[in-house]
């Protein structure tokens, strides 16, 4: 029985791994192909099936004037917008979440849970509902087609995630921890940043990861709120497509688009597995 279970478990894990990894291998292989290798017959292994070329990768860094598409600038734009918006969302979201977790708010029939739900409800409607208001808003304050405009919009999108995750996290940190800090001589602000915050690093990391992922992969707002001045990576990658689909450079750009997320995942996984984040109290 136990052996069967182990067997099934490993079979499933293997299948799943193949399912996840195969597209990546395919993309890696494709990124080194040329037109001939993609379109003539099915090829898999470089040198054996086809002669690898770096052309697909070179196009990505060449300036448009020399026939390239230059995704370097959009790449750094994306990093800047995602990181700035995530950081601000985490800071504001954590403060809001702490307040919602520890203090009781009353305004008419509105209670803490209603406020938390209000934050989350920002993500319930389809993004298209927000597109026109955001467009008008950014054009009014003159931030259309700019990095800062995108940062503002992304904060609106990411903060609900941060609030939601952190409220749940703080609710699981016993209030005795804050109370002990108060008794030990902290004022309420010190209790928050000296005691509660260091204990909340696991939650902050999870919230940060979600913010980075959702910020990084957004195409919709990056597409409708920018034109020529500023471009983000997802938009630029899609723009690579033309009458002849350049599968090789699309594969290469897809790979370097996911690369940061893979790195983040590995770093966080290391940190999680060290056990630093387990068992907050007791």
């Amino acid at each position: 029985m136990h052996k069967l279970y182990t067997f099934l478990k490993y079979t499933f894990i293997t299948l799943w791994t193949v399912f996840i990894v195969a597209p990546f291998l395919w993309a890696i292989s494709t990124s080194f192909k040329d037109f001939q290798s993609v379109n003539s017959k099915v090829t898999y292994i470089p040198w054996l099936d086809f002669e690898p070329t770096l052309e697909g990768w070179r196009v990505l860094v060449k300036s448009p004037a020399r026939g390239g598409v230059d995704i370097v600038e959009p790449y750094f734009n994306s990093i800047f917008v995602t990181c700035t918006a995530s950081l601000i969302s985490i800071i504001l979201g954590t403060l809001a979440a702490y307040a919602l977790s520890r203090f009781t708010f009353k305004a008419g029939f509105v209670r803490n849970n209603d406020i938390t739900f209000f934050f989350i409800s920002q993500r319930i409607m389809p993004p298209i509902v927000l597109s026109i208001p955001f467009f008008i808003f950014l054009s009014t304050i003159g931030l259309l087609d700019s990095l800062f405009g995108l940062v503002v919009v992304y904060i609106v999108l990411l903060m609900p995630i941060a609030v939601w995750i952190m409220v749940d996290f703080f609710n699981r940190v016993p209030k005795e921890l804050d109370e002990t800090a108060l008794i030990d001589g902290c004022n309420p602000y010190q209790a928050f940043y000296k005691v509660v915050l260091p204990n909340s690093i696991p939650g902050l990391i999870v919230a940060g990861m979600f913010c980075i992922i959702f910020g990084w992969i957004d195409f919709f707002f990056a597409f409708i709120l920018t034109f020529t001045e500023v471009q983000l990576l997802p938009v630029k990658v899609v723009a690579l497509n033309s009458s002849i689909t350049p599968w090789w450079s699309l594969s290469a750009s897809a790979l370097i688009s996911v690369a940061p997320l893979i790195i983040v995942a590995f770093v966080v996984e290391r940190y999680l597995s060290k056990g630093n984040l387990s068992g907050a109290l007791k």
Binding site: P174, E176, L177, E179, T180, A181, L182, I183, D184, G185, C186, N187, P188, Q190, V195, P198, N199, I201, G279, A280, L281, K282
Partner: protein
């Protein structure tokens, strides 16, 4: 203002957790109490009787719905916890996970800007008492649950100038042997530094051995405050009689038969209480099983009862006898010969407590 070793006075305090309710339920009914500086108090009562609420009110974590708290005549009701200079230890270990054991113990002193030398000296002294010295450089989260609780306790004791140390069942997770030693250590700390210690517990033995004064609470009400001996011999209500002592006090439904005697099951029992002013004839007679002796023959104040069970506890024997519907328990010396069948139990008048409406006369 620093409150160092203050007299703590609770004046007309009451508290409800749902003040907006038109008929709020009170976690604490109005009461007044004074905790003298340097004494040891135990708050004893079943779960949910308001013990923790009372501590939280004193430390400032909870603001009372009504009433005032005075430290040495100064009104501190509106001061926040940080300004009250109180130490409090909770029932379950609360540690600062991200710090080492040393930093955990030093935290209360660091927050109050003590000098480095003073911090070192205090942490050393406290960690020696609690046997934590060998763990000082470990991350606090690596310790076991009872060691973590020792850290919590240590943080409560590390400041020697506090107005009071409030402990909310602090030894629940500690093993019995260490528990015994720690209670003695707490007593020594109290004697040495004259720190007021307030100790919440639902364990009467803990309360009896630890405290100068015991406060018995039930359902948000302070039922009796007194020395362990008073609580044992003269419980003010039948609740205290039941709650304190093991086994609980024998309590019999009875009728007043004369100015100094009651009748149980038509047997006249003399008491030392003056019953002449009682209008309601139905009273209850309470007597500790420790004070009931086996008599050789029938006589004044003896009850003839059928012996049901004898339990040997090693240092004493517990007899359970019945007389009609009444069950009588008596604790006797273990060497004492116990007859079979009917026995005569002597009830000393000076140890009898008479209760009317559950209150002592």
């Amino acid at each position: 203002m620093e409150f160092i070793m203050a007299k703590i006075e609770l004046s007309n305090i009451s508290h409800t957790y749902n003040p907006s309710d038109p008929n709020p339920t009170y976690a604490l009914n109005p009461f007044s109490m004074t905790w003298e500086n340097g004494k040891r108090y135990a708050i004893l009562g079943p779960s949910g009787c308001g013990k923790t609420t009372m501590l939280n009110i004193v430390s400032g974590l909870v603001r009372p719905s009504k009433g005032k708290i005075l430290f040495d005549e100064n009104d501190v009701t509106n001061l926040i916890t940080e300004e009250r200079n109180i130490a409090q230890v909770f029932q379950f270990p609360v540690i600062y996970n991200t710090m080492t054991v040393y930093d955990n113990l030093a935290f209360p002193l660091k927050c109050r800007d003590f000098s480095k030398e003073k911090i070192e000296e205090r942490v050393k002294s406290v960690s020696d008492t609690l046997r934590l010295s060998s763990f000082l450089n470990l991350p606090a989260r690596k310790l076991t649950a009872d060691q973590k609780q020792l850290i919590s306790l240590g943080r409560g004791l590390v400041r020697e100038d506090v107005a009071g140390v409030l402990m909310d069942e602090p030894l629940t997770v500690i093993d019995p042997d260490l528990k015994f030693r720690l209670r003695r250590n707490l007593k020594e700390i109290n004697e040495q530094y004259k720190t007021t210690l307030v100790y919440v517990t639902h364990d009467q033995n803990e309360a009896m051995t630890f405290a100068d004064n015991i406060i018995v609470m039930d359902q948000g009400e302070i039922v009796q405050v007194g020395l362990p001996k008073d609580l044992f011999e003269r419980p003010k209500t039948t609740f205290v009689g039941y709650f304190i002592g093991s086994p609980a006090m024998n309590i019999f439904e009875s009728e007043v038969s004369s100015d100094y005697s009651v009748k149980i099951n038509n047997i006249e029992i003399k008491t030392n209480s003056n019953l002449s002013k009682i209008k309601d004839k139905n009273v209850k007679l309470g007597i500790r099983s420790e004070f009931i002796n086996v008599a050789e023959k029938e006589g004044q104040n003896t009850i003839k009862a059928l012996l049901k069970r004898v339990e040997d506890f090693g240092n004493f024997k517990l007899l359970t006898a019945s007389m009609g519907d009444f069950v009588i328990k008596s604790k006797v010396n273990r060497e004492m010969p116990i007859p079979n069948g009917d026995i005569n139990l002597y009830i000393p008048p000076e140890k009898c407590c008479v209760y009317i409406n559950e209150k002592l006369i």
